[in-house]
């Protein structure tokens, strides 16, 4: 009531100044509001969003994946492999063995060169002395027998000593076991028949071959094993582990085609699962490098499939390897977990205590602005 009466009086200089100050006050409140809410809020939202580089999400999703059959699993897919040859010699003081890992490597190279386009094979060898097989064989007439059901228990104690996990590549373990002079060992299958090759393998791990020194070498205490059966057994074991049917060009080509299909399939599956994860979990970050890798993987997978249809296996293999490398690199990049400690529901708990105390006076001053605006309107109406 008092204010209205004042406004009906002729304007005095102090009132004019008051009005000017009032307008300045209103402008300052409005500017706070504009900067904090209209400018600041979008900037905050934009800078605290989870960064995701642009991705071909649709391409990643809509892929036709071949149903993975429940086949006996093999060596994991990789671009390099270690072939670790371990010579296990339980009785070094009783028998001197003249064998060089380098000789076996030289003889393995022709076969490895044939399958070299598929992956990089690095051959290493080591000697393990005073180590036994860990299972007790049964005596049969003049030799000792290892039953088929004892064989799985041979591998674990050996593996503990072989340090095949020292390198960063998956290892294919080829073990050569020299039996004691006094106990020649032979492997018997479950029908109680001697296995002529005296070797076995475990898919995904590698193979074991048992060599018995002959009587004359035992007497002279020097044994020079024949390289041919050793190299042949190793090559056959590698063929079985990688599921290659033979050494002919046709078989190698079949192996390459299968590898291309597996790598492209794995790439597509990885990218599809990444797309699925991105839609489910909001706090996964996709940096620009990861985005580039994903784009490269998608393009190369398509190229590889195209070349395979045309029949150019080598080029298809080359692109499949690039696609596989990039898709695995993108999925297992450590930067995806950059927002590990900042899940979505805790975001509000962090920002509300920061911004709410600032916003309260701003919003309350808006009420003042509204009141001033209404007061300005009223005398104008009345004067008309």
């Amino acid at each position: 009531m008092v204010h209205e009466e004042n406004k009906n009086e002729p304007k005095s200089p102090s009132n004019e100044e008051d009005e000017k100050e009032a307008t300045y006050r209103i402008y300052s409140i409005l500017s706070y509001f504009v900067i904090l809410v209209i400018v600041g809020f979008p900037v905050w939202w934009y800078t605290t969003r989870v960064y995701r580089a642009s991705l071909p999400i649709n391409e990643m999703y809509e892929v036709h994946l071949k149903n993975k059959s429940n086949r006996d699993f093999g060596i994991p897919l990789s671009l390099d492999y270690d072939i670790l040859i371990t010579f296990v010699h339980p009785d070094p003081s009783g028998l001197d063995i003249d064998l060089n890992g380098g000789d076996i490597d030289v003889n393995l190279q022709p076969f490895l060169k044939q399958i070299a386009p598929v992956a990089n094979f690095i051959v290493k060898s080591q000697w393990l002395y005073l180590t036994d097989l860990g299972v007790i064989p049964k005596k049969v007439s003049d030799h000792y027998a290892l039953q088929e059901n004892q064989l799985p228990h041979v591998i674990s104690p050996l593996e503990a000593k072989m340090w095949s996990h020292l390198s960063e590549r998956p290892a294919v373990n080829l073990v050569l076991y020299f039996s004691y002079c006094s106990t020649p060992l032979f492997i018997y299958n479950d029908r109680n028949m001697k296995v002529p090759t005296n070797a076995f393998l475990s898919p995904r791990w590698g193979g074991v071959y048992i060599v018995n020194p002959d009587k004359s070498s035992c007497e002279t205490r020097r044994f020079k094993p024949d390289l041919s059966p050793i190299v042949s057994t190793f090559v056959t074991q590698i063929q079985h582990l990688f599921k290659i049917k033979g050494v002919k060009a046709e078989d190698i080509k079949q192996f390459k085609i299968r590898t291309v299909e597996e790598m492209v399939g794995s790439t597509r599956r990885t990218l599809k699962s990444l797309a699925q994860l991105l839609s489910e979990i909001g706090s996964i970050v996709i940096s620009d490098e990861v985005g580039d890798k994903i784009n490269i993987a998608v393009d190369n997978a398509n190229l590889s499939e195209q070349f395979l249809e045309e029949g150019d296996v080598d080029l298809a293999l080359k692109h499949a390897k690039i696609a596989f490398l990039n898709s695995e690199g993108a999925f297992s990049d450590p930067s995806l977990l950059a927002l590990l400690y900042f899940p979505h529901d805790q975001k509000y708990a962090v920002y509300i205590p920061l911004f709410l105390p600032i916003m309260i006076p701003v919003f309350m001053s808006l009420a003042l602005v509204k009141k001033w605006y209404r007061n300005r309107k009223i005398p104008k109406v009345k004067s008309e």
Binding site: V235, H240, L277, L336
Partner: protein, 350 residues
């Protein structure tokens, strides 16, 4: 009299027949091809000795049943065996009788001390470790792996405390397992957790093929079993104690089922109620052999024939000269003299 004899013999025979039939039940094949175990102890300080004993006892059982060290990831947050307060240095016992030293000579701890963090744990599960991490610290599972995850420490409603300074929430745990599922890093998972309010950790799981068991429900505390006065701390937790009692009677050929394992530790002895989550698990736990998760057998196939490879007779000259330079670089050296032979002193004059 004769009738009674006939009746008892009939009962005996039918009982024996039932017993034989029970042993010949063929469990349907689980479909896994290898087994892995991730065993984590998350608490430090001497008075949390029992958590280290828990995880080491499970480690011993799992190793005994066949999972090799290369497929076990063992994370222990503090060193109890070499703790200055340990009156029995280099040992960790899980029983006041101190029968078994669960630390032993061949324990392989993959993540020790301050390396046991939430970040490393999640990175391990999701496979996003920095490049250059040794393979023994990576979880190299694939779509055929059955994974056993065992966590122990101090927990609360919806979180598990790591190292007394950080927590992993149940949502992060569920997200990590979902990332494993999407990348096909497990075939089936058995999730065991022995902490207070353990059931809250598995409540948020949403990925398939997970069977989870927790030692207590939300709002309950898991209690420790007994104190060892010689060492001065509580030595093992109740749930793990009874779980170990069960596992002690399991060997590689055992036909005990997961259903029986889930019944272990009833409320009368455990005081807390054991919680189980089985809705995400497709199979019926009563028909799943316990060795599907706790043991491991390597598949083996015999080599039936070998194709003879021709030897390369040519040896490169360069290779030979290299070999002659490095000849005898590594050779066998016989072990030291056996000092066990007693040398009798010669008595008498020279």
């Amino acid at each position: 009299m004769l009738f009674l004899k006939a009746l008892t013999s009939y009962i005996l025979i039918s009982f024996l027949i039932n017993l034989c039939q029970a042993q010949s039940i063929n469990f349907p094949k689980g479909g896994q091809t290898n087994n892995w175990a991730v065993l984590v102890d998350t608490s430090r300080f001497w008075f949390n000795y029992r958590h280290v004993a828990n995880v080491l006892s499970i480690y011993r059982s799992v190793k005994r049943l066949g999972i090799p060290d290369s497929q076990i990831i063992l994370m222990i947050a503090d060193d109890m065996a070499c703790n200055p307060r340990n009156p029995r240095p280099a040992t960790v016992f899980n029983n006041a009788n101190q029968h078994i030293n669960v630390y032993g000579d061949d324990v392989e701890v993959d993540y020790r001390g301050y390396e046991v963090t939430v970040e490393n744990f999640v990175r391990l599960l999701t496979g996003r470790l920095p490049p250059g991490t040794p393979r023994s610290k990576q979880l190299l599972t694939d779509e055929g792996s059955n994974v056993l995850v065992y966590l122990t420490g101090h927990g609360g409603d919806g979180f598990l405390k790591f190292q007394d300074s950080e927590e992993i929430t149940s949502q992060e745990m569920a997200d990590a397992l979902e990332q494993m599922w999407q990348k096909q890093r497990y075939h089936e998972t058995f999730f065991m957790i022995d902490t207070c309010q353990a059931a809250s950790m598995y409540e948020r799981f949403y990925s398939p093929n997970i069977l989870a068991v927790g030692s207590s429900l939300v709002g309950e505390d898991s209690l420790s079993h007994h104190v060892d006065p010689a060492i001065g701390v509580y030595i093992i937790d109740r749930y793990t104690y009874y779980a170990l009692e069960f596992l002690e009677n399991v060997d590689r050929q055992s036909n005990k089922t997961m259903g029986e394992f889930l019944q272990v530790c009833p409320k009368s002895v455990c005081i807390s109620t054991v919680g189980v989550r089985r809705d995400l698990f497709k199979r019926n736990p009563d028909y799943v052999p316990i060795t599907d998760f706790f043991g491991s057998v390597r598949p083996v196939s015999l080599l039936t024939e070998v194709k003879i490879q021709p030897l390369t007779s040519k040896r490169q000259e360069a290779k030979e000269s290299n070999q002659s330079k490095t000849i005898n670089k590594y050779r066998y050296v016989p072990p030291l003299v056996n000092f066990n032979t007693v040398i009798t002193p010669r008595i008498g004059t020279q």
